[in-house]
């Protein structure tokens, strides 16, 4: 068998080339009813509160009332004024763009970091267990604590970041990380990425450990080098894990609020005002709940469509196009 044959066979294992599916066996009717009864209370509680919140939001978004009692808001006539205002406001689209950049940045950076650490921790080495535990530490740090720590570390005059950059001669004047409109977005991406690295590490390490050693041995016998083995065995094997991790992390980043609000409040000059921060600012700084609710609905629809498209792709099992 040639290297090419081996790799083609290996790729087939991970690219949806699974052959005909066996028919699913249906559980007995009684078991299904019991299962439904078990999950019904939590479904009603969780689903009910979600539906209620959504109904409330839609209702508020369809009334031209900035702030008032719920009774007064819902007594107002139905209108699409808020949607016209929100969709016609350049600040809305700027906040989506900021969200997009923030989401991509704070997903890709920890993915790369997490992948590298996972590959490292997958090797046999002394202290492996301790290192694996230590790699999870950022995850355990509460968001507020991490934010305070990063705000102090990145404080332009007294922070350790600028001190280090000055010490190695990379800068000669202090960099105002959270105050410079050109740098503020990067400054909020860094702490978010740091905190997300353990999630990727954990997911990808689990994926790496599920890969068969035989595939590597077969490829090695056929003369595949380290890079080829990574490209044609590791990466396709990790594909489902990578996609799920990227999706979850992106969804988390898109709605991230704590880091950004605590460090920049969406400023300076809107440079870090993501959709999540803008919704908060509209509701509790500008006191325009109607506008905030509308922005919330628009954001919800956008994210739902994106997630649905991605899940559809995942369910089809065709990962070839991704990696």
């Amino acid at each position: 068998m040639t290297t090419s044959d081996t790799l083609t066979r290996v790729r087939g294992l991970h690219t949806g080339d699974r052959g005909p599916r066996a028919p699913r066996k249906r559980a007995p009717r009684r078991s299904r009813i019991t299962a439904a009864a078990y999950i019904a209370p939590s479904m009603i509680a969780v689903g009910g509160s979600l539906v209620f919140a959504l109904v409330l939001l839609v209702g508020m978004s369809l009334r031209d009332v900035s702030l008032g009692r719920l009774s007064a808001i819902f007594a107002a006539p139905l209108t699409l004024t808020n949607y016209v205002e929100v969709l016609g406001d350049p600040a809305t689209w700027r906040s989506f763009l900021v969200s997009l950049i923030y989401t991509v940045g704070s997903t890709l950076l920890p993915f790369i970091g997490g992948l590298m650490i996972a590959l490292l921790l997958n090797q046999r080495m002394p202290g492996q267990r301790l290192l694996r535990t230590l790699a999870l530490v950022p995850w355990a740090v509460p968001s507020v604590t991490a934010t305070v720590a990063f705000v102090w570390m990145m404080q332009p005059t007294y922070g350790v970041w600028n001190y280090l950059l000055r010490s190695v001669g990379l800068i000669d004047t202090d960099v105002n990380w959270f105050g410079d409109p050109n740098l503020a977005l990067l400054a909020v991406i860094i702490p978010t990425s740091w905190k997300a690295i353990p999630f990727f590490t954990l997911m990808l390490l689990a994926g790496l450990q599920s890969l068969s050693r035989e595939q590597y041995e077969a490829a090695e016998v056929d003369g595949a080098g380290r890079l080829a083995r990574f490209r044609w065995i590791t990466l396709p094997g990790l594909a489902p894990f990578i996609l799920v991790a990227l999706l979850f992390s992106a969804m988390h980043s898109f709605r991230e609020f704590d880091f950004i609000y605590a460090s920049t409040q969406g400023g300076p000059d809107g440079a870090t005002e993501t959709a999540a921060v803008r919704i908060y600012n509209q509701a509790f700084e500008s006191f325009d709940l109607g506008n905030a609710a509308t922005l919330g609905i628009v954001t919800f629809v956008l994210v739902a469509v994106l997630v649905a498209l991605l899940f559809r792709r995942l369910n089809k099992g065709s990962l070839e196009g991704f990696l």
Binding site: M43, V51, L67, Q155, T157, G267
Partner: protein, 424 residues
């Protein structure tokens, strides 16, 4: 419709109806009772403020045995959003501590959350004795609260650092800049001054202290006037201090910390911070950390701590809440406030104890001559303060971060405020 679809539809409807029923407000018929429990929201139940609240509430409950007052403490960062959310749902506290009344009160008053208090105030000495700053508790000609505290800003200075730099306590803007330069030029890492340099509303207010102090009106005849030469000159002083003689990127906590730690020789702050300085500064430094009046012709001032009542109180609760307002605004309560917080109050004569010490006398002097940095009659600005702060903040950041001429930036600011549809 298939059986599967029918089941799905029934399930979805059940969830929706169930959730709506579960969350629907219950009709609340108050039980007739002699005892009344008032709820009071605040962000300030900590340190010296907590001592004051405990003192006032303890005495009030003793004098009114059928009334109890329960404090609901919320962190300042979450305070506005918490009260707003509660009020939208109709479950706000009976007595609402209003933060930064100039900017927060209009939104809550317009939304119908706060009770008009004109009739109540007519029965008190507030209209007769309270300073003009009480108008910060008004919106559209109606009073929605009682102001507890107005104050003049003070210059906080590190006497040892000024002495080391060979300068005295500045009394003019020119002396302030010269003193800041002299300290910054010392061989150590100390800065001469500290400003708030972040993305919060404090950033804009810090700069406006200079315009008020130097008699520069950024609103004139109902229009924005930031490009006026006097305003440009005042903000130039702030710009020079911020760019050359202050640490950068300091939020209000970092600014205060820089002063407390002896890293900055001067800052301008509200007088209430003096108690914190005395209580938390390094013992080796504390004797050097002093206050004076600001080095301006006019003493810039501000308001804080107003009390308002929920618009939905029943007759008995409203009467009890008004009794509490009477008690809180009494000479005794506000004199205690002044002593504990080292701050003036809105009731004249309550800060006399501060005059007894030369260390705290500048607090009273600054208060008596103070002029608000934001005129409460600027209802357009108050109504959309968040937008004003965003647009103005962007221009002020440009002043600190670019080398463009101040006048050019401020001409653009006037234009940007107009373009944003904002009117003072």
């Amino acid at each position: 419709m298939t059986a599967k679809k029918r089941i799905s539809l029934i399930a979805a409807s059940s969830i929706l109806v169930g959730s709506l029923v579960a969350c629907a407000p219950q009709s609340a018929q108050p039980e007739a009772t002699e005892d009344i429990a008032l709820t009071l929201s605040t962000w300030s139940y900590s340190n010296e403020f907590a001592d004051w609240w405990d003192d006032v509430i303890g005495k009030f409950e003793k004098a009114n045995p059928t009334i109890t007052v329960e404090i609901q403490q919320t962190a300042f960062a979450d305070y506005g959003s918490t009260i707003t959310t509660q009020a939208v749902a109709g479950s706000e506290p009976d007595i609402i501590h209003v933060p930064t009344p100039i900017t927060t009160l209009p939104a809550w008053a317009k939304a119908g959350f706060l009770a008009p208090l004109d009739d109540y105030l007519k029965t008190t000495d507030v209209p007769k004795l309270w300073p003009a700053a009480q108008s910060a508790m008004e919106w559209n000609g109606t009073s929605y609260g009682v102001l507890l505290v107005d104050y003049g800003y003070n210059l906080f200075y590190n006497e040892a650092l000024l002495t080391e730099a060979g300068v005295g306590v500045p009394t003019t803007p020119e002396e302030l800049v010269a003193a800041a330069k002299a300290v910054t030029d010392l061989p150590g890492d100390e800065f001469g001054f500290a400003i708030t340099d972040d993305n919060t509303v404090n950033f804009v207010r810090d700069a406006l202290v200079f315009t008020t102090g130097m008699k520069a009106d950024w609103v004139k005849d109902g229009d924005w006037n930031f490009s006026d030469p006097d305003v440009v000159a005042a903000l130039d002083v702030w710009r020079e201090l911020g760019k050359k003689y202050s640490p950068i990127g300091t939020n209000f906590a970092a600014k205060r910390e820089a002063f407390l730690a002896g890293n900055s020789a001067m800052m301008i702050e509200g007088p209430f911070y003096y108690a914190t300085v005395q209580g938390t500064a390094d013992p080796a430094l504390v004797d050097s950390l002093k206050i004076a009046t600001t080095p301006f012709e006019v003493s810039p001032g501000d308001v804080s701590h107003g009390l308002a009542l929920s618009a939905d109180l029943d007759e008995n609760t409203r009467a009890a809440a008004e009794k509490f307002l009477d008690f809180v605004t009494s000479t005794e309560s506000l004199t205690t406030y002044s002593k504990l917080i080292t701050s003036p109050t809105a009731r004249p004569g309550t800060a006399q104890s501060l005059l007894e010490s030369p260390d705290t006398a500048p607090i009273v002097e600054a208060h008596e001559a103070s002029k608000l940095i934001i005129d409460p009659s600027n209802e357009g600005l108050r109504s959309d303060y968040a937008k004003f702060a965003e647009v103005t903040g962007a221009a002020l950041h440009s002043l600190l971060q670019s080398d463009a001429p101040s006048r050019e930036i401020l001409v653009n600011l006037d234009r940007a405020l107009d373009d944003a549809g904002l009117k003072p």
